[in-house]
């Protein structure tokens, strides 16, 4: 096992290198470049060429890549072409933090609500509550974000003023009771995005848990437990639940792999300064250095999380042998 881990980690730098080169090339594949966008209506080719030189966009792709690589290895990921005066790191990191905060909270709620709901549905299998829960969850998660947000925004923010219509103000805000007592509450800006992000999520998790739990409860050792005369609840808690958690672990791993990615639609429609909206804007304005830095960070998390998930899976299900060849 250790050898396997070391081997996987060893190719991480190589993988990142390949990803960076590929992204570098692909980014320049599209028509236009940041100079075109920044210069807008200015057309003088001499001027544009001067700007290109000044910002290091001249020369062949390999030359440009070497320049970038040299700086990147020293920790300098360049400057944004579009938002002048700000380094890529200062723009990207805070936005990733915002998206990551939202994602962590969402993951927590998705599993904290989804797992019990799934178990509940499995418990009540055969009676009306099971298909009811499942159908409702399915229905809620079938509506795309773009369709569900405007009505919810209108209802909660515009009509009833329960939540602000958009924006971001950190995770905690202070609520004053009678102007005297201050209590920290979750910031109201969180309610809408979390609502939209968690509902489809815990629906999926609930269904997963339900199916797994039903599966497991048909296994031999569970029948044995029942035959021994244990109560259903004991059977559920001590036998079904632990085994049903296996795919959940995998699912958590998958979710964490995307923790630094932002949901573009949610962020844009709700005015949240996250990495999802920012990445797309950077592509639109061909802000190459930003695209590259974002991609590398995401790739890093993704690869590491995949490794962890594979390890967890192998640990839990010993029938799976990693890296082994055919037996014969």
């Amino acid at each position: 096992m250790t050898g396997y881990v070391i081997r996987r980690l060893a190719i991480l730098p190589l993988t990142l290198f390949v990803v960076s080169f590929l992204t570098f090339t692909v980014a320049r594949f599209g028509p236009g470049d940041p100079v075109t966008v920044a210069a807008g209506q200015v057309r003088d080719p001499e001027v544009l060429q001067r700007i290109r030189e000044e910002r290091g966009l001249d020369g062949s792709i390999v030359q440009q890549y070497q320049r970038w690589m040299g700086r990147a290895l020293q920790g300098d990921f360049g400057e944004s072409f579009i938002q002048r005066g700000f380094s890529v790191r200062e723009l990207v990191v805070p936005k990733m933090l915002v998206s990551a905060q939202l994602n962590i909270l969402a993951i927590f709620f998705v599993f904290a609500i989804g797992v019990p709901l799934g178990l509940l549905a499995a418990w009540f299998q055969g009676r009306w509550l099971d298909p009811f829960i499942i159908s409702t969850l399915l229905f809620l998660s079938a509506i795309p974000v773009l369709v569900i947000l405007p009505p919810i925004q209108w209802l909660l923010a515009v009509q009833f003023h329960i939540v602000p219509v958009g924006g971001w103000d950190g995770l905690i805000s202070i609520y004053w009771i009678a102007g005297v007592i201050a209590i920290p509450i979750p910031d109201p800006h969180l309610y809408l995005p979390l609502l939209v992000m968690t509902v489809p999520g815990f629906s999926g998790v609930a269904r997963l848990v339900r199916i797994t739990a039903l599966q497991v409860s048909r296994e031999d050792y569970v029948r044995t437990a029942r035959a021994k005369g244990l109560e259903e609840s004991t059977v559920a808690l001590r036998h079904v639940l632990p085994n049903a958690m296996l795919p959940v672990v995998t699912a958590i791993g998958l979710s964490l792999a995307g923790i630094v990615e932002g949901a573009y639609f949610t962020e844009t429609l709700l005015g949240i300064p996250g990495i999802g909206a920012f990445t797309f804007e950077s592509v639109r304005s061909r802000d190459y250095d930003v695209i590259l830095a974002t991609t590398l960070i995401v790739a890093f998390f993704f690869i590491v999380m995949n490794l962890l998930t594979d390890l967890a899976y192998a640990r839990i299900d010993p029938r799976v042998r990693l890296g082994a060849g055919n037996r014969t």
């Binding site: 969402a106 599993f111 159908s135 773009l146 209108w154 815990f202 639609f265 797309f280 991609t295 899976y313």
Partner: protein
């Protein structure tokens, strides 16, 4: 994104099906009322799309600016949009666009690549497995969205030209949209087959230790034979599930793609375009039908496919 849970857990896979499995399968499916309802919904919407040119009450681009933004009425069953175009007709043609996208997805080979590579990786193991998985990892670490936008910007015009030529040559006005979606999905599938592959691979990893495989190997069956005759049938139903899931996600994908500027151009309607016109909390406040009509269609499709997928899943589990 958060909580990407696979549709079915990667635990027990079914054993070899008996002959007449398809008929048996259909029998079971018919008994599930929800699944039948879903099938009816899906068929109705798709049929609407196919028959749109014949059953739509108005042409989708006909504008009567004086009639703009009306709610449902006798002349316009689903109301009119900002330019006075009939929402019902536009919806029917949007269903057509969704059909075109669905075909493009199926043809683009994403299913073939993902399932095929997953099969090979899971069964062969060793360096083949490692190579496939690592390459897949690299490819899927690439930023999909930016790439999509860039590839579309770069190749889009060229492809659109060919498509337009085909349109004019054959008189069927679908090739242009079809070819631009095909390009998009081919790019997507080339880079993002890893998800499917991993899933299939994990299934295969368990299956290959099962008795019937060991028996076949003991009897001296060659690898391709094992892959095709023994593994594939067991995977087949999972593949069916994936096809259903993929088709189901098409509607949602089309909406997202349209928002990113990839997709049909106006005045060809699509659900994505209609949703775009109706989005925004304040727009919803004044003209809710602009969002509700396409939203209802898309949600129904997604919901129906999800129910169908669940039903198929249940049938597979219960054998």
């Amino acid at each position: 994104m958060t909580a990407a849970a696979p549709a079915a857990p990667a635990s027990e896979a079914p054993s070899i099906p008996a002959k007449g499995a398809v008929a048996h399968f259909w029998e079971r499916l018919r008994k599930k009322k929800l699944a039948m309802l879903s099938l009816i919904v899906i068929t109705t919407i798709y049929a609407g799309g196919i028959l749109a040119p014949w059953i739509a009450p108005y042409p989708y681009s006909e504008q009567r600016i004086e009639n703009a933004l009306q709610g449902p009425s006798r002349q316009h069953l689903l109301g009119t949009d900002r330019l006075g175009r009939d929402m019902l007709s536009r919806s029917l043609y949007s269903a057509r666009t969704t059909l075109v996208v669905s075909v493009a997805v199926l043809v683009s080979g994403s299913l073939v690549i993902g399932n095929g590579l997953g099969l090979i990786a899971g069964y062969r193991g060793g360096w083949v497995d490692a190579a496939i998985m690592r390459v897949g990892e690299v490819l899927s670490s690439l930023p999909g969205l930016p790439m999509l936008v860039l590839v579309n910007a770069a190749l889009g015009p060229r492809v659109a030209e060919w498509g337009g030529w085909l349109d004019r040559a054959t008189g069927i006005g679908l090739f242009k949209d079809f070819s631009s979606y095909l390009t998009v999905f081919m790019v997507l599938s080339l880079f993002f087959w890893v998800g499917t592959a991993r899933y299939v691979r994990s299934l295969v990893l368990q299956l290959r230790e099962r008795e019937f495989i060991l028996a076949a190997q003991a009897l001296g069956a060659s690898t391709p034979r094992i892959l095709v005759y023994h593994l594939l049938p067991n995977i087949a139903f999972i593949v069916v599930l994936q096809v259903s899931a993929t088709l189901g996600s098409v509607a949602g994908t089309e909406v997202a793609l349209t928002w990113f500027g990839v997709g049909v151009q106006p005045p060809t309607p699509s659900f994505g375009a209609m949703i775009f016109e109706g989005s925004g909390a304040r727009t919803f406040q004044s003209q809710p039908h602009l969002l509700l009509v396409p939203g209802l269609f898309v949600s129904s499709l997604l919901f129906a496919f999800a129910l169908l997928g669940d039903a198929i899943n249940d049938i597979i589990r219960d054998r």
